[in-house]
């Protein structure tokens, strides 16, 4: 219609004719459009770390989300409407992250955005989401949501934050591994959460952090940092991210080798997407790891665990079913799955129809208090705090036995609770 108009030489009669025809077309189209409001797909934006230092996570976050989306649509979608997800790469870069938020909101016309993991990207992108008044559901573990640093539009309903994780595990580490701790962590927001809250939790347990070694997250070789670990260290606490994690653990192995070493307690982040049985990692035998979700299927796994693993394409050892070398970021990726089902609940509770209902959606999530364990919450039951926008779940400590991570301890949800630092519900939209 419009091309026809543009191609013609414009005179008054033709324009009027065109307008009349256009008007008739719109009238004809109107009923269909009204109908579309209830059956057009709901469009969700996913801010994905497909490239950059978070690429290993991005690969699995996309697979997990696709699997969750399939299940969601098989169950009938949200409010009777099918759901589609627009994935957009942010290069694990905060500046690009803010642009992706804008692009997904204004160009792709997404109803909301979810999925980013790396804390510096979340901190860089969340203010833009707040300005655009679009719900922004992050999967980042950082304490920046519950600390009050972000805004009312940013929520974290899919994964426990670092503060709760480390404070719930510190007592076990103190009692079973030792009291004098040296921490090795990446030098940015996520690592600083570890530094601040684990140090605090250790002190509360009567232990002491005797050294804190901060390493830039883009570092490629770690040999020169390791001699800084004091000899009297009883527990070495490590958490590392980025493409060099394998180098980090290998060099740690070279450093200690078969000689005397302290107890080692690591965050699985140091080994996400890395095979624990890889050559050079033999020294990890007998060391402990935090896991948000056990990579190796445990003997007492709940019945939905197999369904989840089959859906996301992960075998019982935590590697891809298409190749044993493609190890999943299993301890984190459940957060995308669970967040999608929280979105479903929130949209259904708020009767979400269009972007005009975004505020009602956020209020509906703030009203939630608990999630039951099940196929929609595969990692386990969770408590949600609507004031701080943060969810709290169980944490697991696993020991490497025969090259496999076997769970030796599970915390309770209450172990990780701390006083609220913010009440987002009192803030304006």
């Amino acid at each position: 219609m419009t091309t026809d108009l543009a191609g013609l030489k414009t005179n008054r009669r033709r324009v009027l004719g065109g307008l009349a025809a256009g008007g008739a077309l719109m009238l004809g189209a109107a009923p269909r459009f009204v109908q579309a409001q209830s059956s057009a797909p709901i469009k969700l934006g996913f801010q994905l770390h497909r490239t950059g230092i978070g690429a290993a996570y991005g690969r699995w976050y996309e697979r997990t989300t696709q699997a969750a989306l399939k299940l969601l649509n098989d169950q009938g979608g949200i409010n009777g409407r099918p759901v589609e997800i627009v994935f957009e790469d942010d290069g694990t870069d905060p500046k690009r992250g803010a642009e992706v938020v804008e692009k997904l909101t204004t160009q792709a016309g997404c109803d909301l955005i979810f999925g980013p993991l790396f804390s510096h990207v979340v901190i860089g992108s969340a203010p833009r989401a707040g300005e655009l008044k679009v719900p922004y559901l992050v999967c980042s573990e950082g304490y920046h949501v519950a600390s009050g640093m972000l805004n009312r539009w940013t929520l974290q309903p899919g994964i426990t934050d670092v503060r709760a994780q480390v404070s719930s595990m510190a007592p076990w580490v103190m009692q079973n591994l030792g009291k004098k701790v040296t921490m090795v962590f990446p030098d940015y927001a996520f690592g600083h959460d570890h530094r601040d809250f684990f140090t605090e939790a250790v002190k509360a347990q009567g232990g002491e952090v005797i050294a804190q070694i901060a390493i830039p997250p883009t570092e490629t070789s770690f040999t020169r940092y390791l001699p800084q670990i004091p000899a009297e260290t009883e527990v070495l606490y490590h958490v590392m991210v980025g493409p060099a994690v394998l180098t980090f653990v290998k060099e740690l192995g070279e450093f200690y080798g078969s000689g005397a070493r302290p107890q080692i307690f690591g965050f699985i982040d140091s080994l996400e997407a890395v095979d624990t049985a890889a050559p050079g990692l033999e020294f990890l035998e007998g060391t402990h790891f935090w896991e948000g979700h056990c990579r190796v299927k445990q003997a007492d796994a709940p019945e939905w665990e197999s369904t989840y693993r089959a859906a996301v394409g992960v075998d019982d050892n935590g590697a891809s079913v298409s190749g044993a070398r493609d190890v999943a970021t299993y301890a984190h990726m459940f957060s995308c799955w669970e967040t999608l089902f929280v979105i479903k609940k929130g949209m259904e509770a708020s009767g979400y129809q269009s972007t005009a209902d975004r505020q009602k959606f956020v209020e509906a999530i703030e009203a939630m208090t608990a999630f039951d364990a099940g196929l929609e919450h595969v990692q386990g039951a969770k408590t949600f705090n609507g004031k701080t926008h943060q969810v709290f779940g169980q944490q697991f400590i696993s020991k490497v036995e025969g090259g496999k991570l076997m769970r030796v301890h599970a915390t309770s949800i209450d172990d990780g609770m701390y006083p609220d630092a913010v009440d987002y519900t009192a803030q304006s939209f």
Binding site: R50, T51, G52, I53, A55, A56, G58, R59, A214, I215, P216, T218, E219, T220, S221, T223, R224, Y225, L226, P227, Q228, A231, P243, A244, L246, T247, E251, E254, F255, Y256, G257, S258, G259, A273, A278, P279, G280
Partner: protein, 275 residues
Amino acid sequence: MAAVLALTAVGLSLTFGVMRVVNVAHGEFFMLGAVLAWVVAQAVPSAPLGFVAALILCPLVVGAVAALADTAILKRLNYDPEATIVATIGISYILQQGALSFFGPDARAVEAPFSLRLQFPWFGYSGYKLFVVVAAGLVLLAVWLFMTRSRAGLVMRATQVDRNTARAFGINVDRVYAGTFALGAALAAVAAVLIVPIQQAHYLMGHDPLLLSFIVVIIGGLGSIRGTLIAALLIGLSDGIISMFFTPTLAKIVATLAVALVLVFRPQGLFGARA
């Protein structure tokens, strides 16, 4: 890793010294070497064999890519300094995004040819890392011999001193340039193959070596191999020692400060001749 830094920097220095081309794509040639090492290591079943094959093949392939880039792009620009900088920035993006498209965004490990580990009383050290130092030293020695003793080296030095006179003496300057560019890139690739069992092949890995190489080359004097070597040792060791006793940020500050001071007080570099 002063030794590997020296290898990369010598490649950069050579390119600038002979051709007067500031090769911003040097870091990406390094990355390309590492990525190809992974490809070769995947194709060859046994780890030591794969490593040796990579050590021979990767520099050749990277050198060929560089020679092609030289004849196809830089030569058409008549080696105009500003234009070549922009062109090499372009080449670096092409290589980086090419690696991203064909190799993927993941870091991939290449197995070391041997996993000897030296146990000292209080800590352990990888035997392979010592091997890298020795190997880098040997390659550097070979480059030095090549430049000072061989006919090709003589031709390259002649071109460096005076391009027009060299041409008047019947030297094919175009070929010398292509060869130098290839040699410089091949040296970066050798460095990458040596380092890849320690680090991992990743499409963004070219940034750090490029920056450090420039620092080294500026401090050592552009075009001076001796200066480059000494500066590489200086920067490599100070980087390690300062990050160990203080912080890695301070190490970078010191290195950058050194560049600034050298530029202010001795613009030709510690061992460079006045242009």
